[in-house]
Symmetry: none
Subunit: 216 residues, 4 copies
Amino acid sequence: MEFAKPLPSYLVTRYHGWKATTYSENQGWYRRLASEGQRPRAMVISCCDSRVHVTSIFGADQGEFFIHRNIANLVPPYQPDGDHHGTSATVEYAVTVLKVAHLIVLGHSQCGGVQGCIDMCKGHAPALDAKESFVGRWMDILKPKFSLVEDIEDADAQARQFERQAVVASLENLMTFPFIDSAVRDGTLSLHGLWTDIGEGGLECYDPRAGRFQPV
Amino acid sequence: MEFAKPLPSYLVTRYHGWKATTYSENQGWYRRLASEGQRPRAMVISCCDSRVHVTSIFGADQGEFFIHRNIANLVPPYQPDGDHHGTSATVEYAVTVLKVAHLIVLGHSQCGGVQGCIDMCKGHAPALDAKESFVGRWMDILKPKFSLVEDIEDADAQARQFERQAVVASLENLMTFPFIDSAVRDGTLSLHGLWTDIGEGGLECYDPRAGRFQPV
Amino acid sequence: MEFAKPLPSYLVTRYHGWKATTYSENQGWYRRLASEGQRPRAMVISCCDSRVHVTSIFGADQGEFFIHRNIANLVPPYQPDGDHHGTSATVEYAVTVLKVAHLIVLGHSQCGGVQGCIDMCKGHAPALDAKESFVGRWMDILKPKFSLVEDIEDADAQARQFERQAVVASLENLMTFPFIDSAVRDGTLSLHGLWTDIGEGGLECYDPRAGRFQPV
Amino acid sequence: MEFAKPLPSYLVTRYHGWKATTYSENQGWYRRLASEGQRPRAMVISCCDSRVHVTSIFGADQGEFFIHRNIANLVPPYQPDGDHHGTSATVEYAVTVLKVAHLIVLGHSQCGGVQGCIDMCKGHAPALDAKESFVGRWMDILKPKFSLVEDIEDADAQARQFERQAVVASLENLMTFPFIDSAVRDGTLSLHGLWTDIGEGGLECYDPRAGRFQPV
């Protein structure tokens, strides 16, 4: 393991700053979280994108949100075939072990993964089509929704709309998990779909009755 | 989609607070991030656990860290078989598209996923052994490392050590990805292994020469 | 006073969010409340329990409710002996200075204080019996009502019923204060007894004619 | 109990609105709080004043804060004499049963109780001096601090300063409780002193090193 390197010093410095301030001010709470375990109220599924941190937008502190982040905040359909399914494992743990009350999918504007999927669907991204492309194969989850936005001529408008459809696709796939379907029916779990505009700081919530996203 | 609900009002309130303060104070930066795209310096792979937010520990702002969070901060070995591989897609995107300079794996104490893996290895968790258990199948990634901590008698000490081994396992698996191996050899990417103690706020970094974690 | 610490930063963030939104939108009203003084319509006596906020249930805004919160929403009997009586001071101030029109006692399900009183009455809580137990001595106020629920066999049903009796006990004790008795007789003050079910969001109101609580 | 009346209809209406929105959106969380019990991170001791709701200032939702409200946010010194001590019972429950990590005392401007104490100290409030005055006897807790503000000539400035001293007095009295002193020394509990300006929406935090309150 000769490749692993020391932590860059700018991060060491920041860590010591955090230890002397945030940690110090909250030591009692951190110790209690360590000894009693976590009990988050909500799980959030959002994108890895460095421009969208749900802890910032919602002022979430230690212990509040169980957070899964992947490319384009996608959830694959239920498929218990014995293979590694990282995303399915996160929702299984959140719903059956932690018993979170809310499951929030947060999409966002200028999503690189969603744009890649559009490029694939339009035949402009042969590299993503390759069997070996992990990003391409991951974005396959979203492909069936492309027909819903195919006719939007403006490229930006089409991408923004497809980002929202990625949220809806994840919500629909979440409902294919038996333990989620059952918790939703019991009234112990609710699903929520959000989309945020990075540049303008906007936030929209999916309204299933209207069939579209509305500003909160 | 009748099940999706409005966003709980306490989160709506917090969002509006964020919009009026953090967003408002940084609007120029947010707009630039939206129009020019992200350019993160580092990717972090950490756990979904609600008690460990890397953005807090390292004071990360919008645009700095590309963050993947899954159960027990695990990376599976390179396996380009055409299936959905969410974690592999995140590292592929970070290294080949965003060209991050650092790839940091952050483990932590009191990890429920790692504890589950110990329970499986000791034969105490039949539910996790079931083919249908996504958490169990995901934690299979870590199983081969159990022999390294099998002899530690104290249960807490064993768990803490296995959590550190989960970080090492992920670093090793990362090196099986050709694009990572190549970037590390070229000197354009460095890997880092970290482990944090939730209750005490400690942070340790893997030192490959010493073959163990050292406080930063 | 070396022990007092800075405010945890997550609360600082939330405060600034409140200042920039709720406060800012209502500045004129807040300034008027500051310069003219409060003139609340009602006083509410409820429990400290973190799961029951009367301001949420009744959408109470600044200036509407004068709120006293203690363990198990209890009011001790009138006892003007010159000692500190925190609860008696709150009702004296509300009725004789602020001249509120309503005095509402709000009980709730899963009340830890009421459960402690049941444990004491059944001889299962020696720690609460100790002279030094402030919680035990406070719950003594409710003890005389235990005979009313003693025969209920189901433990949950018994606790729920005893929580309602705690509300009735407080209403009865309130009437032992001369200034309350007099205001009620004059028709300038009315008392109300409520009980809420945390899990189901139910609300019941005490009906003195029926001698029991009815859903509102 | 002929005096208890039905709930005023404007409150019935508001309750049904809450049930259909806030409760409905959070049903899973409310049910979980009911079945698993509360686990608040902080206790707040604030005034009954209708103009200061800590849940609003800090965006606190169900389950976050254990809240005691009394006249002038006062805590009497430790006095385990077997009498009813409502305030002491609340801190005993919060620290020894709930094991909160933070104990926050929140004072505020234009506090009627503090003004009454000033009037007593200046000999202008014979009614409050009477043995039968619950408010007067309660405010006796603060009297020893009057010498610290006695020389301030401007009446408003004196009142504002005395309100801050009420917070310090409560912090000092809290430290006379053995279980609080011990939890603070163990690093599992931290105390915080705050004062808010109603009209201007300001918030100050007590800084023990500087010996005074500073804006947050």
